[in-house]
């Protein structure tokens, strides 16, 4: 096989795994988070009328920029209380693998901080 074919194939698989990850994170967000955080992640899910603490608006750029990736990770894995927030944000450690949680953090960043991501901001 010509080396260029190998390189092309490499790119193909790289792109493939990337889009597959983004796809997986989106499926997870849709299935587990939308019920409270809403179809567009604006904290306006169908369960909101029953809640006395409003789910976080993940597209609120100003607020989300104050949170580090580590804090978002902890909130998802161990629930609201792990980052001094409400128990109304459940803990999902029983639901996801490490990798899936990391991917969800990445997905949330695309909901709030697209411009910063393009500029290459380090969220820690």
């Amino acid at each position: 096989m010509h080396p260029i074919n190998l390189i092309l194939m490499g790119f193909f698989f790289l792109g493939f795994t990337c889009s597959l990850h983004a796809e997986e994170a989106y499926l997870n967000y849709k299935t587990y988070c939308m019920q409270c955080h809403g179809m567009h992640g604006k904290g306006d899910g169908v369960n909101v009328p029953a809640m006395n603490v409003l789910p976080r608006d993940h597209s609120d750029n100003k607020y989300m920029m104050t949170r580090t990736n580590t804090e978002i990770y902890k909130a998802i894995k161990f629930g609201g209380p792990a980052v001094n927030k409400s128990v109304k944000m459940p803990a999902w450690e029983d639901t996801f693998t490490e990798e899936e949680i990391q991917q969800l953090v990445g997905h949330i960043r695309t909901l709030c901080c697209e411009q910063e991501l393009v500029r290459g901001v380090n969220f820690r």
């Binding site: 809403g38 169908v46 369960n47 029953a50 409003l54 459940p90």
Partner: protein
């Protein structure tokens, strides 16, 4: 495009599994032949009678009705017999909430703290349409369902401690403020969230051992369900919650509404 191709393959594959599932002999532990046959012809088109529960999100989204293959580990027989004669909705947002939410609400949509939120729409707003059985058929079907117990290992070590008594008020505090179940579950018709099953009937619908096991590890029953697990909940709270649900189910909600 690649993903579409994969999905197509997967869809074809799951169709195969479906065919297999339809023809594979189910494990009914010595129930009446007539009842089995009845279930297979009248119920299998919507309900999974063979298992396993959906293993991926895509499979989960294709599910049209609750899995019944572990019915004998889950339901109380008396409730089954009653409900099959008078079926009513149990999940306010349907079996799959994603099919029944809409983000473009009508003009008269209420707001909360300045936000418009997603609303339910479609068939879940109408009364449930479901096969209705007469008492004799309901008894027969209940017998077969109660004999389907493949998840026995999950409930075998669960035991309700009835000494962990609670009042309705304390129970509500546990469900709402302490553990936040109320976001997804109703503890009174119209009071609570939509994406989980109603809990005000759970006590008479479900076996205590099932509730204890399910609340801690819902994923053991239904690997992709959108209820979080509570592996770290203190045993004391778990016992109290289940005792509360049993107490709650004795309330007469028709009288108060």
């Amino acid at each position: 495009m690649v993903i579409e191709a994969i999905c197509e393959v997967e869809m074809r594959y799951s169709f195969l599994v479906l065919i297999l599932a339809l023809f594979a002999a189910p494990v009914f532990a010595g129930a009446a032949e007539g009842g089995e046959q009845f279930l297979r012809t009248h119920c299998a088109s919507c309900h999974d009678l063979n298992g396993p529960a959906p293993q991926t999100i895509r499979q989960l989204w294709k599910r049209d009705a609750p899995d019944l293959f572990y019915a004998g580990n889950k339901y109380r027989r008396e409730w089954l017999v009653e409900w099959l004669q008078k079926p009513v909705r149990i999940r306010p947002a349907g079996v799959n909430y994603l099919r029944h939410i809409n983000s473009t609400p009508p003009k008269d949509q209420k707001k909360k703290a300045g936000r418009q939120y997603d609303v339910l729409w479609g068939e879940v707003l109408k009364p449930l349409k479901h096969v209705r059985l007469d008492r004799k058929k309901a008894e027969m079907v209940a017998d077969v369902l109660m004999s389907m117990v493949p998840n026995y290992a999950l409930t075998a070590n669960e035991k309700l401690d009835t000494s962990k008594k609670v009042t309705l008020d304390d129970g509500e505090v546990l469900i709402d403020k302490v553990h936040g179940c109320l976001s997804c579950h109703q503890i009174e018709p119209g009071y609570g969230g939509y994406t989980g099953a109603e809990l005000y009937t759970a006590g008479k619908r479900l076996q205590p051992a099932y509730m204890l096991s399910y609340i801690r590890h819902p994923k053991q029953w239904d690997p992709k369900i959108w209820m979080p697990g509570y592996p770290k909940m203190p045993e004391e709270d778990l016992q109290k919650i289940v005792n509360y649900l049993i107490l709650l189910a004795k309330e007469d909600f028709n009288a108060s509404n």
